[in-house]
Symmetry: C2
Subunit: 414 residues, 2 copies
């Protein structure tokens, strides 16, 4: 699969994103690594913008991840976001720390803010020093050009792509205590490409007025049912970053607690937007031909259900079976068994789509291979497992494992 072929699982059309008061965007060609394509996104954020973030759990995080964590702790909000593709600035030691500092300084000058109010994310090669001097002049120019229209959003989502085959955008509207607010989000992520590409990045923006701690609580909760439920190959990047910015321009009433009932509509809209963005990442999984939803029910707890669902979604044998359009439920049994979570073989039931293939620890006596095969030929497949132990449930998304995945990640050299 070359980068000019769009994933067969891409949505028919990308949404046209509305303006978010207080958010303006611009992209540029800084020549970080790629030629003849944009590789820098600059986002100007109005004064008073609050920000929350969740990051990779990797013990070897990239320099920008370290920077953002520190900036969030400083709690000074955000006035600018800089994202580059082509170089992850990960595993770059002291030089990497110097590169993010210089990037924040250049962006701070462009935005008229302290460096600590600049959020930074990078995606691309690991281990290559990033020459941040390439941002000189470029970011100031971006700041001058930045605008808020639909095309600017699409250009933004395109500039941060690496092996992605389509830009990923989503939008939602909600009301907080009767005041309408908007949430826009963009994401990138597909897996990896030659050599060393990684990283899932996503950025969401709203005009809602919400303090940092509330924003953080909403984002952390929403991540659990969205980005933490998507896997392409089980390989966690050094750079995964999800940031949520709130400009406050909507002028809704002040809310001080995430569990304030006036936030229920906003929370639902945010959760839904994050799920859409996460699904878009699975739809663009490297080499993917099938979108797989794994649902686990009846586990001892939600956490246990999640671990079992991820064990299924990460199993190379389940994923190659899906690629081969085989209703191979024996491999699902295997993946449940290896998860290490409470499971009673003799209570297990498994469905592909609406077809129950196994029940009470054995093949369903009424199982029709023809019906199951028909399910497997669809581009979107749900695998459901009922454990029969408790009330725990989880839902995760993945894609199939194809020769194209191996080609994308192994063929670039030999």
């Amino acid at each position: 699969m070359s980068s000019t072929e769009i994933s067969p699982l891409a949505p028919a059309a990308s949404p046209s994103l509305p303006e978010i008061a207080g958010v303006r965007l611009a992209t540029a060609q800084a020549g970080i690594r790629y030629k003849n394509r944009t590789d820098v996104l600059y986002v100007a954020l109005a004064e008073g913008t609050e920000v929350a973030g969740v990051f990779t759990r990797s013990r070897c995080p990239s320099a920008p991840v370290d920077w953002c964590r520190d900036a969030l702790k400083a709690g000074k909000g955000a006035r600018a976001l800089v994202v580059n593709s082509g170089n992850a600035n990960a595993f770059t030691g002291l030089k990497g720390r110097e590169a993010v500092s210089l990037t924040a300084e250049i962006a701070g000058q462009a935005a008229g803010c302290a460096p600590e109010a600049v959020m930074i994310a990078s995606t691309g090669v690991i281990g290559e020093p990033l020459d941040a001097r390439k941002f000189e002049g470029v970011l100031a120019d971006c700041a001058a050009r930045a605008e808020g229209g639909a095309e600017a959003w699409t250009r933004a989502a395109t500039a941060i792509m690496t092996t992605d085959t389509f830009p990923k955008l989503a939008t939602r509207r909600a009301a907080i205590d009767g005041v309408p607010v908007t949430i826009n989000g963009i994401a990138k992520g597909a897996g990896m490409i030659a050599p060393d590409m990684a990283t899932m990045l996503s950025f969401a923006f709203t005009d809602a007025a919400l303090p940092q701690d509330v924003l953080q609580e909403l984002l952390s909760a929403g991540t659990k049912t969205s980005f933490n439920c998507v896997t392409v190959d089980g390989d966690t990047s050094t750079s995964d970053t999800l940031l949520l910015f709130a400009t406050g321009a909507a002028g809704n009433a002040a809310v001080t607690r995430a569990d304030d009932p006036r936030l229920s509509d906003f929370r639902a809209a945010l959760d839904d937007l994050l799920i859409e963005l996460a699904q878009l990442v699975a739809r663009d999984g490297e080499g993917a031909n099938k979108l797989v939803t794994v649902e686990v029910e009846g586990a001892e707890s939600d956490a246990s259900a999640h671990r079992i669902a991820m064990s299924i979604a990460n199993s190379p044998l389940v994923k190659t079976a899906v690629a081969g359009e085989d209703a191979n439920w024996g491999r699902v049994v295997m993946a449940v068994g290896k998860a290490g979570e409470p499971a009673d073989r003799d209570r297990l039931a498994i469905w592909f789509g609406d077809v129950r293939v196994a029940v009470q620890g054995a093949r369903d006596p009424d199982y029709s291979e023809e019906a199951a095969s028909a399910v497997m030929r669809r581009p979107e497949i749900t695998v459901r497992v009922e454990l029969g132990l408790g009330q725990g449930r989880a839902r995760v998304w993945t894609c199939d494992l194809t020769k194209a995945y191996v080609a994308i990640n192994g063929d670039y050299r030999s």
Copy 2:
């Protein structure tokens, strides 16, 4: 890769196994699933044979695994071993339990022993009922024909193959308190094949005289540095079984504790044999072109080092990079980071073979891509990670992830 092509990583020659007093073997065509090939191994064991076993940690174990666990608890030793390929008798419910009972009954009649002294292992399709009546007559005939010569061992290792491309045999000699003893071992395992094949099986036999508890302790310890250190795709079978039989015919002095210094030579020989068998499994990994040894040093503990090593060995991105002969150490950093174990990015050092590619959390300034690429072109590659935190170390084996793996596990239907 069809089953007639032998793995490029297969040893140049299979060893010729010596006789073990008290062990006789025979194979047969029971027509379990395959045509025109042997699919049953019967091993006759002399009276007084002790047995120890380790099994899959799957929460959905096969019926034979349940049977062996119970038989070991009964502690009556072993007089026969029956292994079939073609059907794993896993996830077969009540019918599966009845099938192992009937198998043990038929084998017990052939061996002149109680059913509880029959050990059983099965490999092949998951979820298909196994018709144990096919063993009727076959096992009695095997018992009559069983013999102990080198050819019988090779035929035994061949009968238990599924997607394996070569039979796996190993042998060691040791002395216990001056008395010479022999250990023979066979193994099967490559990954999976159409549809639902699984299972790593290994059986070791010795003429040493050792009580069950000592045997179990030695086997459990040996497993930690051998079979628990090998991974092809990270997918744990429902049927993994490793059994060690000791006939006692060597007549060595009685030993009652596994830490008896008189057992040090035997222990070393057993550990070495298990490592050789485990490596043979990695060498026959589905689609494998490269044998990869992952060494982790300087971890906080051996257990931590093991988890980091397995994170590297199971990473699809590391494994596709190896397939592509790319010294992609960024992906090794990623895999260290995602293991969730203590690691300090800025102390990490990474080697491919003898070439240090990264040090102190960044690319080695003296790194030669040419030298690293030369390492990657070899059929056997060592990836070494030094964490710089403590004394913990681990060594595991895996293979590369190639398009042939996807083809073997996904192409059989579509």
